[in-house]
Assembly symmetry: C2
Homo-oligomer: 300 residues x 2
């Protein structure tokens, strides 16, 4: 069963408004936001990844969902399968670094010892407090809204390639992949202003397409506007293929948001597209539509 089908079979059980019909990245229960994300060896991290980086990633991907709701993190619950002692010890080190970096407490969780050695799967539940203005969803974009993304896109995807090749440079690209930083402060500033917001975990194109679908709209994205870092351009160039690679790579954990066209966001962000009535994604390059890539991003 594919993820989308599985979620469709679960939807009848989402009988509480906090579930937002399972169409959002987090549940919103009173003034709390709750999210649960897992990461798995061979899917979200490499078998030879530094356990400290794995722990950091587990925390960061969950806090990134809170950032997209404008929430202030309160704490996390950890679901951990015990392995060999050194891995476990280094994982705890990285967990401590991440919790300290983002000022979040460990509230509880569960550990187990698997029956057989197997690729690791780790889970985390993050709890945050909703801003007074409410938690934005991914479904609120309006026709005419502009689409913005924070920071730069593609660095983490390039960093993953470097990590797979066991390369050590360029360090900034590796760092973007190994130590993603959830944009909690940006999320809090943006939450009262945006019509819709989500984090870019699977790729700019696929995540923008999901926001458009959830909002019942079409979205047009200007490939030339996708913000690339100098390091990315030095590594992969700045042609159309390099831009498509950036726009379809995952793991950037930037914030993607829909804004009233009369507003300019008060954070470092780039205008990359626009919503309109209709459905689907249109990709523009040099002023004209170009064919969509076969994959818009990472699909589960």
């Amino acid at each position: 069963m594919r993820e989308a089908e599985f979620i469709a079979t679960l939807r009848p059980f989402a009988t509480h408004p906090a579930a937002r019909s399972l169409a959002d990245d987090a549940a919103v229960l009173g003034d709390l936001v709750l999210t649960h994300d897992m990461i798995a060896e061979g899917v979200h991290f490499l078998a030879d990844a530094d356990p400290r980086d794995v722990a950091w990633r587990l925390v960061a991907v969950n806090l990134s969902d809170l950032a997209a709701k404008g929430a202030e993190p309160v704490g996390v619950l950890l679901g951990y399968a015990l392995g060999d002692g050194r891995w476990d010890f280094e994982f705890v080190e990285g967990l401590g670094e991440a919790l300290a970096a983002f000022d979040v407490a460990l509230l509880g969780g569960d550990t187990l010892r698997p029956a057989t050695a197997a690729p690791r799967t780790l889970g985390l539940t993050a709890i945050g407090r909703v801003p007074a203005s409410g938690a934005p969803s991914r479904a609120g974009a309006r026709a005419g809204d502009t689409l913005w993304v924070t920071g730069v896109i593609g660095d983490a995807g390039a960093g993953l390639e470097l990590a797979m090749a066991r390369a050590r440079e360029p360090a900034s690209l590796l760092e973007a992949y190994q130590r993603p930083r959830p944009l909690l402060a940006d999320g809090r500033v943006l939450a009262p202003l945006v019509h819709a917001m989500m984090d870019v975990s699977d790729g700019l194109l696929i995540d923008a397409s999901r926001m458009a679908t959830a909002s019942g709209l079409a979205v047009e994205i200007d490939l030339g506007a996708v913000p690339l870092s100098d390091a990315y351009r030095a590594f992969r160039g700045d042609d159309r293929a390099a831009r498509v690679a950036a726009a379809t790579a995952g793991d950037d954990y930037q914030l993607l948001f829909a804004l009233d066209p009369d507003l300019t966001p008060p954070v470092a962000a780039t205008l990359v597209g626009r919503f309109a009535d209709g459905a689907g994604v249109t990709l523009i390059h040099g002023g004209t539509p170009i064919p969509l890539p076969a994959k818009l991003g990472f699909e589960h």
Copy 2:
């Protein structure tokens, strides 16, 4: 690393009072109780278990932690690794049965597709609302308190043996193992009255010993008083060995609680022991102390 060591290394990160120093079965954040429990193939369920029973178990073990806090369930977040279609489909069926049976909504969660087929690990986070009287901990027993347990003990352990032997009878023992029922109503009634409460997941002796340790006390348990079902006695007898087997078996999900000696609980429960100053567990049989079994219950 053993579970206890691992939790000790995590304790410095439990900087929020909601964490209860990681010494309790759930976090208590404002008026909410949050718990996260995982179950794994080969550890908590058999490889050939009915996926519907696995889903039921995942929900039941988490709601049982809420029951021990006297909490009213609000919803759950599911962490699920997709497998083959039929297993996934039947899992969803069982999940629906359990959520309906206990009137709980699915609020969200995450799915992933593992890189390789491996024994399944499933996680659930359950959220409940704390009673006005507060959520009891496992650490509040006082010297002189009586120790009580709801229902009967040992049926699930016998049921596990039957399931491993692929037996179909006695049905009530198999049912106790395959479809544990979290005692939510009993928990709500007991919460305002008890000094300490927890669920019996790993065995009566080990869980009573954990309550005594957390409370800084000794506990004496009368093996002859441990409540056994007629089905259990018919299956395994009623001698000392049968009683030790029941008192050290897991998966019963009864409630274990410490009560002022002047009180009698308003639910179906049996007086099985007493707390005193000191430390450790003393097991009594026929009025005299007997040696403790090598294992007090299931240890992770």
